[in-house]
Symmetry: C2
Subunit: 126 residues, 2 copies
Amino acid sequence: MKRLPDDDCGFASALNVIGGKWKTDILWEINVAPRRFGELRRILAGVSEKVLAQQLREMEADDLIRREVFPGKVQRVEYSATEFGRSLNHAVGVMADWGKGYEIRMAQKAEEQAEEQAERSIALSA
Amino acid sequence: MKRLPDDDCGFASALNVIGGKWKTDILWEINVAPRRFGELRRILAGVSEKVLAQQLREMEADDLIRREVFPGKVQRVEYSATEFGRSLNHAVGVMADWGKGYEIRMAQKAEEQAEEQAERSIALSA
DNA sequence: GTAAGCGGTTACGTTGAGGTAAGGAGATCA
DNA sequence: TGATCTCCTTACCTCAACGTAACCGCTTAC
């Protein structure tokens, strides 16, 4: 996601924070429960270690998530959502609901076009 | 904005629709009042004709805006927001509000860090 | 006749987010 | 001693969004 120049409306800022390809998924997963690095790798199938580490660090810098290193026999790092992160998750939810509506609308549109296509084929063959 | 694969949550779909660099601005302007192509060019200082035309066409295909050609002596094309477009504008507004909060928070954080820096300088020079 | 405004389109170059693959430090296991 | 697990880092590459600049048909104004 390109870091847009901050415009007057705040939306660009929000996109700068959450626009990364995996960030909404990361935030969602961490919001469900604190997650470890390797756990996230497994859950978010397809993300590379490089990008995961990178986006986690950016989200930490933006106060969306908290990184905690637990002392123990093996290295253990846990990421959890901050209150601020949860507040963003809510705003993302509103957009996601709209996205759902869009998907349904576009599916209907595609269906209608398929029907029209079918009708044209019948008219043509008659 | 890269067209992301549609995930389960709908957010990616929403981003695919509104993620273009100028689309929120376009939607906002058109929501205020119907606008002509040249008008948008002037209002959105910095957008190129190519990208403006491209994003307008994508937004039209997504039913966010309506393109109307008015017959007359000079060519006249008007873009206006659809009801669906207005509904997206609302969801964008929620994200924008969050973005505003983020900006304020980060400004405060930067201020605090500047203060700490100043204190360190004083301690060092003493 | 030519300049200028409208609403574009086209070819080409740039840039940066994300992907790939490899390495690496510290600890445990066999 | 080497293999394996964890949590990363680094160098390099790819690809699509965006920018630049030129051109287009149409019309009116000078």
